[in-house]
């Protein structure tokens, strides 16, 4: 377990990157390199990071980065892992860094294939719950009721539960995280790096531009997602499910903040009715019963 003081001073996400102010994914990227160092090859399918890195001939990354097709991060990582093994390079971690669209929608096939083949790499989905790069369209990770440009009246369906889909692949490590809890995220990355096989980490990465909240509130938004129980921090190591702090305290329903406290700060949930909010509250309750069962097993 690492503490904030022990984090390396080196920065591999360089100054002058092109992320929006208050970008949750950019904060996550900075933490990613703090945890993994620079012996990394990064695979980036089409996503906000295509923009964040800056245009040719510039880059804001001090690690090698291969930009690759939208649906193919899992396949690209597979090719790199195979090549590095042939070249007997053992000190480099292959990391696929993809948005929610590139993971839960168009990229799910290549990711599922890579996981089933037990490819030795870390896949990170940074989830801002919509297609951010193209201006906020609905994805399979968009939550119920959220405004996007393709759901102007709010999404009618629920969010796809991607981490548990990945857990069903029986990979050695699945975890959820949020940049609002940096130590938790970093420790999960370190654990993933030390584990052989496919590791999947799903980050809830708040996005002021798309979620319509003030850019200074990103960390707070992530905290509220966790404190209300709408985003749950857990890890599944070799099939063993464990809730992480502070989510572990929220098994007790009374410790959870009402979901309204999270929803009300975001313009994207503006059109939710009271009934919608009650419905979401009820789903959170049901989800937590599922987590309780998983945690007790």
């Amino acid at each position: 377990m690492v503490t904030l003081k022990e984090l390396p001073k080196e920065e591999y996400l360089l100054k002058g990157h092109a992320a929006c102010a208050g970008c949750g994914p950019a904060i996550s990227l900075r933490l990613l390199f703090k945890a993994l160092g620079n012996k990394v090859v990064l695979v980036v399918p089409a996503c906000c990071t295509t923009i964040i890195q800056g245009p040719y001939p510039y880059t804001s990354f001090a690690v090698p980065l291969q930009n690759i097709l939208f649906e193919s991060a899992g396949a690209a990582a597979s090719g790199i892992v195979a090549a590095l093994r042939q070249r007997k390079i053992e000190d480099t971690t292959v990391v696929a860094w993809a948005g929610d669209g590139g993971t839960v929608d168009i990229g799910i096939q290549a990711l599922s294939g890579a996981a089933e083949r037990e490819t030795d790499f870390i896949y990170i989905c940074y989830d801002n719950e919509a297609y951010g790069n193209t201006g906020m369209q609905r994805s399979g990770a968009t939550p119920y009721g959220a405004w996007t440009t393709t759901t102007p009246l709010g999404k009618k369906e629920r969010k796809k539960d991607m981490p548990l889909i990945m857990a069903a692949h029986r990979i050695p490590y699945v975890a959820t995280a949020c940049p609002s809890y940096p130590i938790d995220f970093i420790n999960k990355l370190k654990k993933a790096k030390a584990t052989k096989g496919t590791k999947y980490i799903h980050i809830l990465a708040p996005c002021p531009t798309g979620w319509r909240y003030d850019a200074s509130k990103t960390v707070e938004m992530g905290r509220l997602a966790v404190q209300t129980g709408m985003w749950v921090l857990y890890e599944i190591e070799y099939g063993k499910f464990r809730l992480n702090s502070p989510s572990d305290r929220l098994l007790d329903e009374t410790k959870r903040k009402p979901v309204k406290e999270y929803l009300v700060h975001q313009g994207r949930f503006r059109s939710l009715s009271n009934e919608d909010i009650e419905k979401i509250q009820q789903w959170v309750k049901e989800d937590w019963e599922r987590y309780r069962t998983l945690a007790l097993n």
Partner: protein, 392 residues
Amino acid sequence: MVQMKIDTANHIAGYAAKAARVKVVAAYPITPQTTIVEKIAEFVENGQMDAEYIRVESEHSALVACISAAAAGVRAFTATSAHGLALMHEALHWASGSRLPLVMAVVNRAMGAPWSIWSDFSDSLSQRDTGWIQFYCADNQEVFDTIIQAYKLCENEKVFLPAMICLEGFILSHTYAPVQIPEQEEIDDFLPPYKSGWVLDADHPYSHANLVSPEWYMEFRYMIQESMENVKRLLPKIGQEYSKRFGFEYGGLVEKYKCEDADLILLTMGTMATEAKTAVRRMRKDGLKVGSARVRVYRPFPVEDIRALAENARMLVTIDRHISFGCEGFLASETKAALYNQKDMPLITGFLAGLGGRDVTARTIEKITKRSLGYLSAGKIEKEIEWVDLKE
């Protein structure tokens, strides 16, 4: 010692990948390609080939895995057909745009609907604009030789582009024929270890293929075009070196047969040229001055070779195992385009034959030639496109 094998072109493609010391193979099954990747799986599993074999979940992933393996510093190979190739379409662009020297066997098969598994060039010709060098082989030996030559060509710093080695489904893919496989040491001497223009390397961090503004994009495209032009210059040299070492020669981009004094030259691709040669031999006996030219490399298109052929011939006849709907076969179109603005253009007529695997025999080609000779003596083409042996 040279090994003599009697095997299918697909198995021979597998032997070629092994001989080229390919380090990563990513593969997905599709008829009639499958026996290539089955053969390679056998080589890898029994330890004859030191390579990683990635059993991907789609052709799209097969090509992307090869792209990334090549980007991470090793020689990569895959194979596909028809719908598999179509599924790879966007990755084809990504491979050439990334300037990675991949080699892929394409076992030509017709595109559906309706389903067909038989030979047709519509799969690979639909991909002509993706920035891949395209070879079309006429026999099993050429499949082996071209795969080895292609790696040498693609890994040349003046090229750094990927190549498709096209071979017709069943006609070659599943047909046994004798092939000579040179000594491994000699192949190693001809084909040095993998070389590419860039490598993903943690000690030398670069971002690859990031966003390019209109200020630069055209220059990147121009460089690909320049490399394609370099292929025209380099391939004949590589072919000659190969021939000197191993004895097989394919005439660079276009293989010519009895063209020197021919009034009429048949332009074909792939195995149809073998039938065309037989037809030419027979018709020559009857005193007809005909010749056959096989377009072995379709991208870059051998414009200069076609112009040279047109200098002496009075008529060119293209036979396409392909149609661009609403237009004609690509070989017909591009032959005409190559000659426009030239002085004393020969007559050009285009035939469509053998689509979806229908046999095109020497007899069919004789029929086509005689019809064309009729046009030649009349001094005009009756029809710009003709479908051969079409049921009414």
